[in-house]
């Protein structure tokens, strides 16, 4: 890789690179994203390597391990270009057949392609599959195209063109104008207008200034930022260099959570490549601008994703938030003006500079522009990463992209925004998703978690689950969050154990009001969302726990009653052997009976009975 001394040099290199590449060259892209890697991406890729060698195709066919292809439910996924045939659930044993059939004969291997669960219709090509059809990938666009370890791949797709433009054709003010006009808002949680944030930092008088990329991604189950850092690391770097130029920063840091070693490795390699090629370091592209990026590894706590806690943690202090103001743009890292943005926010920046603010502002809703990546998980058929324009409805995401609920169960709620998001009921399925609409129904965009729940979920239990998570993760610095979460958890437990009262519901509501208003940081402020939203939309469920001591979804164990149906019981005594407290009695080969006084509701008898004779109510 040469060091680019001038724009002409870069332009010429890119021209030759593209000329050298045959757009029709067959390619095998094995997904090595967060979902596929643990399912055996490396073994699949190795099998392909071997098969290609064996068939003498190693020189003609390009084999790449790349980032997430999106539809992770089909792990391990393999994409064959240029036809864009997408295979799912590929194992190393399938490699031979794909090489033989698809690469040599041009045939589709039917048993490995997508099949619609409802219509049983099969689809081989990416463009035919509903999951992909409804999307508009901007940030995820290159993930199933490039090899994330190859700077050439990034350059061939127009990489660092935006940087060239920003450094040599635009003044810092014009860069900020463009970001402002694009309407880009932070993708890490708060949704603060990115351009305005940069402007405040640019205006700050203190020096030096810093740039931080927030790659902490602490939401359990979320992996959109990880997928971008691992699958398209140069896009994050390019965004950061452009941002640094705009505000006049000389140093940048990427804060990556320590559970993401692959992301760290990919980013480190990308930084090294960018330094060697002159995109980072002194006098970038001979523009006179100096900037460098370092990786900082996270401490692992959820709260360290909060910007002031993250900065404390980077400075070597305990990762606890502090009251704002001052905001990081005024006094951030080492007390200096600092712009901190989320991974996805940064990855949007080069695209906006390339294609223009007007293009970007043309996508989305009035106050939320562009696209948003969601990690769609839970009770839907097609789980994975989706990127849709702001304003796409929940119904489109859950049913069109997600393929509806698993086992055709009934939809109950969708939780957006991570552990402190609200649970949105079915009546809002046609809600166009953007920052403001989610807030209006008691939830948040957060960083893009989306958990779909069916009727087998109990919303009291769901609220308890998230409150317990937040209770464990709250830093404990301020009274409302620390004591509030402890008591919310206690009160929810009371309800789940049938000891709740309606006064306690009112008390929870009152407590939530103070937590939301008076906590230091977003953790305590938004922790109330899972409680308030479930209390609002699923009140009958709370009341059933309180008044009737019943859990309608049959989830809360302490409220369940286990009985043996005398008609179905064969007297096999399987349950008797399992019961830890000896609550089941009866003669052999005769119907058994459960002593409700002794039963501790562990559910072991229910699981042990092979005749479904143990009933729950």
């Amino acid at each position: 890789m040469p060091k680019f001394e001038s724009i002409d040099h870069l332009r010429e290199y890119r021209r030759q690179l593209i000329a050298k590449r045959d757009p029709n060259q067959p390619q095998v892209l094995v997904c090595a994203g967060p979902g596929c890697l643990p399912m055996g991406s490396e073994e699949v890729a190795a099998a392909f390597r071997e098969e290609l060698e064996k068939n003498g195709l190693a020189a003609q066919v390009l084999l790449k391990e790349c980032g997430c292809h999106g539809l992770c439910a089909g792990a391990v996924r393999v994409l064959i270009r240029p036809q864009e045939i997408t295979y799912q659930h590929v194992t190393p044993e399938d490699a031979a057949e794909i090489v033989e059939q698809t690469l040599k004969e041009g045939q589709v291997v039917d048993r490995l392609i997508y099949e619609d669960l409802h219509t049983q219709e099969k689809a081989a090509y990416k463009g035919e599959i509903p999951f992909f059809k409804g999307q508009m990938p901007i940030v995820l666009r290159k993930l199933d195209v490039i090899d994330p370890t190859s700077l050439d791949d990034y350059l061939a797709l127009g990489g660092y063109r935006a940087l060239r433009k920003a450094l040599l054709e635009m003044k810092p003010d014009e860069i900020i104008d463009a970001i402002e006009k694009s309407g880009l808002r932070g993708r890490g949680g708060g949704g603060f207008p990115t351009g305005r944030k940069w402007r405040i930092c640019q205006d700050a008088l203190d020096e030096p200034k810093f740039i931080i990329c927030n790659g902490d991604e602490g939401d359990p189950g979320a992996f959109m930022d990880r997928a971008v850092m691992e699958g398209d690391p140069h896009a994050v770097l390019e965004g950061m260099i452009i941002g640094a130029r705009a505000i006049g920063a000389s140093k940048g840091y990427i804060y990556v959570r320590h559970e993401y070693p692959l992301a760290v490795g990919r980013l480190q390699l990308a930084i090294q490549q960018a330094q060697e090629s002159g995109f980072l370091g002194k006098n970038i592209l001979r523009s006179g601008f100096d900037f460098d990026i370092k990786i900082s590894r996270g401490a692992g706590a959820f709260v360290c994703g909060e910007e002031t806690a993250l900065i404390h943690s980077m400075e070597g202090f305990i990762g606890e938030p502090r009251p704002r103001p001052p905001y990081p743009v005024q006094a951030g890292l080492f007390g200096k003006p600092t712009v901190i943005n989320n991974v996805e926010t940064w990855a949007n920046v080069p695209e906006i500079i390339n294609l223009g603010a007007d293009w970007y502002a043309g996508i989305g809703t009035e106050n939320s522009k562009g696209t948003k990546v969601f990690s769609l998980v839970g009770a839907v058929n097609q789980t994975g990463l989706v990127e849709v324009p702001m304003g796409t409805t929940l119904r489109q995401i859950v049913y069109d992209l997600g393929g509806g609920l698993r086992q055709d169960r009934e939809f109950k709620a969708v939780q957006t925004g991570g552990p402190s998001g609200g649970c949105i009921p079915g009546q809002f399925l046609d809600l166009p998703v953007d920052y403001d609409s989610l807030q209006s129904v008691g939830s948040i965009m957060g960083s893009g978690g989306m958990i779909v729940m069916d009727t087998s979920s109990c919303m009291v239990d769901v609220a308890r689950y998230f409150i317990n998570f937040l209770y464990q993760e709250s830093c404990g610095k301020c009274t409302p969050c620390r004591e509030g979460l402890k008591n919310l958890l206690f009160l929810l437990d009371e309800i789940i154990h049938g000891r709740g009262t309606e006064e306690q519901l009112a008390l929870m509501e009152e407590l939530c009001g103070t937590m939301a208003a008076a906590s230091i940081c977003g953790l305590g402020k938004s922790a109330v969302n899972p409680v308030l939203s479930t209390m609002k939309y699923f009140r009958e469920e709370y009341l059933a726990h309180i008044r009737e001591k019943k859990c309608p979804a049959l989830v809360c164990r302490p409220l369940l009653k286990y009985t043996v149906d005398p008609e179905t019981c064969t007297g096999c005594l399987a349950c008797v052997r399992e019961c830890p407290v000896g609550a089941i009695s009866g003669k052999k080969k005769m119907a058994q009976e459960i002593d409700q006084e002794l039963c501790v509701k562990c559910g072991l008898c229910y699981e042990a009975c092979q005749f479904d004779a143990v009933k729950i109510e």
Partner: protein
């Protein structure tokens, strides 16, 4: 990094005077001084638990909250770190503010039911009983962080810190062992509003944080001055011979 908000102690360095309104009254105050100090200087009382004029505020207790902005776009902020700014509209006793303070005190009352100060403050806000649950009826620490900040900012040794997150947060020495950094000065125990930190003096020995410190008597009057170790620490910092510190303030 601790953000030090300007305070009385740094009055000279404060910004220019600006106008703002507190509870409908227009007042003038130096820009960037904390709202708490601005309010108090003008006779508006705001209760606090974790504020100390000689320490940087970190906003732990949330008792000092005030409401800023104009209806309907108001916001609750803690006044001990919020800077005084031109045109700010502040309410120190709005219904929302009082409700938040009552709730904070009710939560603390459940946490530390036997703490005198909390009982009194709660009572002053009309809270006599807590609807929340008490884990440990003997608990006295409200995690205000005054001790930690005193040790770090005033004593300058950072012998104690906040350990853990919400479920088991506490003030502790590193690794919960006898702190080698502690000089036995007792400042942490002195500043603690609830007398949480055990501290004894018996027969010339001061015991604090599980460590025994030999007390140094004054060479002139014989009264105990401070732990020998603390005086050695001062000697080290100042570069003066330690004997210089063996005479108490009164006899010097």
């Amino acid at each position: 990094m601790v953000w030090k908000i300007s305070d009385e102690t740094a009055y000279d360095t404060l910004g220019e005077e600006v106008h703002l309104t507190i509870n409908g009254v227009t007042i003038r105050a130096p820009q960037d001084q904390s709202l708490l100090v601005t309010a108090r200087q003008n006779g508006f009382e705001i209760p606090t638990l974790c504020y100390h004029r000689d320490l940087p505020s970190e906003g732990h207790c949330r008792l000092c909250v005030v409401e800023i902005g104009e209806h309907p776009r108001t916001q609750i902020v803690n006044s001990c770190t919020y800077p005084t700014q031109a045109g700010l509209v502040v309410q120190t006793h709005s219904e929302t503010v009082l409700q938040a303070r009552r709730m904070v005190l009710e939560l603390l009352l459940a946490r530390t039911p036997k703490a005198k100060l909390i009982q009194e403050m709660a009572a002053a806000h009309g809270v006599y009983e807590s609807r929340f649950k008490t884990d440990d009826p003997e608990e006295l620490c409200i995690l205000c962080g005054l001790c930690v900040r005193t040790c770090r900012e005033v004593v300058g040794v950072s012998a104690i810190s906040m350990k853990g997150r919400t479920p088991d947060k506490q003030v502790a020495t590193p690794f919960m062992e006898k702190s080698s950094a502690c000089i036995g000065c007792g400042s942490c125990a002195f500043v603690c509003p609830n007398n949480v930190i055990p501290y004894t003096e018996k027969e010339g020995i001061r015991t604090i944080w599980g460590r025994d410190f030999e007390l140094q008597p004054c060479n002139v009057c014989g009264n105990y001055i401070a732990p020998k170790y603390q005086l050695e620490h001062w000697a080290k910092i100042t570069g003066d011979p330690v004997e210089n510190f063996f005479v108490c303030k009164d006899c010097r």
